[in-house]
């Protein structure tokens, strides 16, 4: 039997790329700060903060969805993920890091003097609006802060616990009974994480963090929609790391079968995302209530007065629905590394664009004319690349610190002989 490369060594070119991406990201942030953030006009400042908010929340929720992928497959005893489990574990190390960035940004927005993004955080706004008053038991500074801090620390702590559990088998082979107990402990922790996940990403967290940018508007489908929008790029992120590592000669036990299943996840949840996207749109279009349609008026406009976000709105649908359904449908394309790499990059960008149109139209809206506008988005895109660099850096660093394969995991054989 050929030996398995267990130790990941970071290539120089890889670290150059991750450092370079982080550097241009920070550079772009500085440019944004000088051109917008340092201005005295609050609306100009908000454009700078919105960029940070959108990027940090998107990548936080994506890396956290990698945790969800790990825990959901563990809870359902899906053994097939074990050969590349260490990759998902390494990506999930990014959750606390990006979580701290997001928390700082959000707390500045809530407790700072600028309330353009979170209008509900301004007591004057709340006094004038009946809607905000009736939402205030949920949408207030205290609950926002406590819940945000609690949830992000729970994600980080449970993530650390699960990674530690997985590391605990590295040096000692398990007996049959120990293996059973190990599987059980894993299942319990995955279940605890999923309960936290259901109370956070699946319900309250997107309402607090993202939907409250449009504080007067509400949609009960919003959290599911946000979750679907982060789960697809999470699978894409895992797949793209697997392809990179296989090209470097690692992960010998992971093969086309595993990649095929990840491709199925990307395909299936792209359709699921479209289902939620469309359901949210159609119900609002159908009932035609003014307080509900404002969200889509900002993004789509009316036939006589189209919104500047109309192009992004439809590009979003083309990238995240039409492209996956046409390209990923065939079995062969899910097993082709080139097609998969292309689709992974496209979907990570596509859902970044989705988050862009969730955050920016509300922030850029002029309160007097009620007109919204698209800022120079290339800068936000490069800030996003900075976060990609951060994820690349953290993932490689944590991968190089543990064996690439969980060699004593009870489900390892099941994963090696996995067949779709």
């Amino acid at each position: 039997m050929t030996t398995i490369k267990e130790q990941f060594v970071i290539q120089k070119r890889y670290s150059t790329w991750s450092m370079g991406l982080m550097a241009v990201g920070i550079l772009c942030l500085i440019i944004l700060f000088i051109t917008h953030g340092a201005k005295s006009d609050q609306r100009e400042q908000a454009r700078f903060w919105a960029s940070l908010l959108q990027n940090s929340l998107y990548f936080l929720l994506v890396t956290n969805a990698v945790m969800f992928f790990m825990c959901a497959t563990t809870l359902s005893w899906g053994g097939w993920q074990i050969t590349f489990r260490r990759v998902s574990e390494a990506i999930s190390v990014a959750v606390p890091v990006i979580g701290v960035i997001s928390i700082i940004v959000m707390l500045i927005l809530v407790f700072g003097s600028n309330h353009v993004i979170y209008a509900w955080a301004d007591p004057n706004n709340v006094k004038q609006s009946h809607d905000l008053q009736s939402k205030s038991p949920f949408l207030n500074k205290g609950f926002f802060t406590v819940w945000t801090l609690l949830i992000v620390s729970l994600w980080s702590l449970i993530g650390a616990r699960i990674r530690k559990l997985s590391r605990s088998t590295d040096d000692n082979p398990l007996t049959l009974d120990e293996g059973k107990r190990f599987t059980w402990t894993n299942t319990v922790w995955a279940a605890i994480y999923l309960v936290v996940f259901a109370l956070s990403v699946m319900s309250t967290i997107p309402w607090l963090w993202l939907m409250s940018i449009n504080a007067h508007w509400y949609s009960t489908m919003y959290s599911w929609y946000t979750w679907a929008s982060t789960f697809v790029p999470a699978c894409a992120l895992i797949a793209i790391f697997i392809i990179y590592l296989k090209n470097q000669g690692y992960l010998e036990l992971t093969n086309d079968e595993h990649l095929h299943d990840l491709g199925k996840f990307m395909f299936a949840f792209s359709i699921f995302w479209t289902y939620l996207w469309f359901s949210q749109y159609m119900l609002i279009w159908y009932s035609n209530q003014p307080e509900e349609t404002t969200y889509f008026i900002d993004r789509l406009g009316t036939s006589s007065n189209p919104s500047p976000y109309k192009g992004i709105f439809f590009l979003n649908l083309i990238i995240n629905f039409v492209a996956p359904i046409l390209i990923l449908m065939k079995r062969g394309s899910k097993r082709n590394w080139t097609t998969m790499t292309f689709m992974c990059v496209l979907l990570i960008f596509g859902h970044w664009l989705d988050f862009y149109q969730m955050v920016f139209p509300g922030v850029m809206k002029d309160p007097v004319t009620c007109q919204t506008r698209v800022p120079f988005m290339l800068l936000d895109f490069v800030v996003g690349l900075g976060f990609i660099g951060l994820i690349m850096f953290i993932t490689a660093r944590s991968l190089s610190r543990m064996p690439m394969i969980i060699k004593h995991h009870p489900f390892l054989k099941e994963s090696i002989i996995h067949h779709t």
Binding site: F278, M282, W285, Y286, R331, H419
Partner: protein
């Protein structure tokens, strides 16, 4: 009728079957099919079967469903019987998407089901000849077709060498027919092999 001559070998172990398939293919015999009581992962690849075209058929059925739904609804609501529903335009795509989706699913599901039955030659009252009835229970049955260039004795020896438990030469109807087994075996003049009770 297409009654053909086959060399039929029965295996009772998957671990024997896979190397056997490989060496029989390498020997160049024309493999008719392998009958197994349950689906075996990887056997299609080992036998060198082509990928199914059922997915392409499903795609075409789905597109047909989409076109039917969109075409019919838009004809009804814009031309044949326009109704004012809540002040919405007559051509209002979002409201039609759910029905279009349902018809796409319905057409592709029913179409693929029927196509699958056709490809597998399965339908009510349709009968197929069995090589060995135990292939529905506990045996893997491999049938090699005898062409005019096949040396039957050699083929039998080959199957025995690769581990078949029971090898025999058989004449079987390869296509389907309507009717009942007990009468039809007589009809095809197949006296030498009695149907298994």
């Amino acid at each position: 009728m297409a009654i053909k001559k086959f060399v039929v070998g029965s295996f009772d172990d998957e671990a024997v079957l896979f190397p056997a398939v490989r060496s029989v293919r390498r020997s160049g015999y024309k493999m008719h099919d392998i009958y197994t009581p349950f689906p075996i992962h990887g056997l299609d690849k080992a036998m060198g079967l082509k990928d199914t075209s059922l997915d392409t058929a499903g795609f075409i059925y789905g597109i047909t469903g989409t076109a039917t739904a969109l075409g019919f609804i838009s004809w009804v609501f814009t031309y044949d019987w326009p109704l004012n529903i809540g002040g919405k335009p007559h051509f209002s795509l979002p409201a039609w998407i759910p029905i279009t989706f349902e018809l796409t699913v319905l057409f592709s599901a029913v179409g693929m089901f029927l196509t699958f039955c056709y490809l597998c030659q399965m339908a009510p009252f349709v009968k197929k000849d069995h090589f060995n009835l135990r292939s529905t229970d506990d045996l893997f049955v491999m049938a090699l077709e005898c062409t005019d260039r096949t040396n039957e004795a050699e083929a039998v020896a080959c199957l025995e060498r690769v581990g078949a438990k029971d090898v025999k030469i058989d004449r079987r109807e390869t296509r389907w027919w309507l009717g009942r087994y007990d009468k039809d075996t007589k009809m095809f003049g197949m006296k030498e092999t009695e149907p298994v009770a």
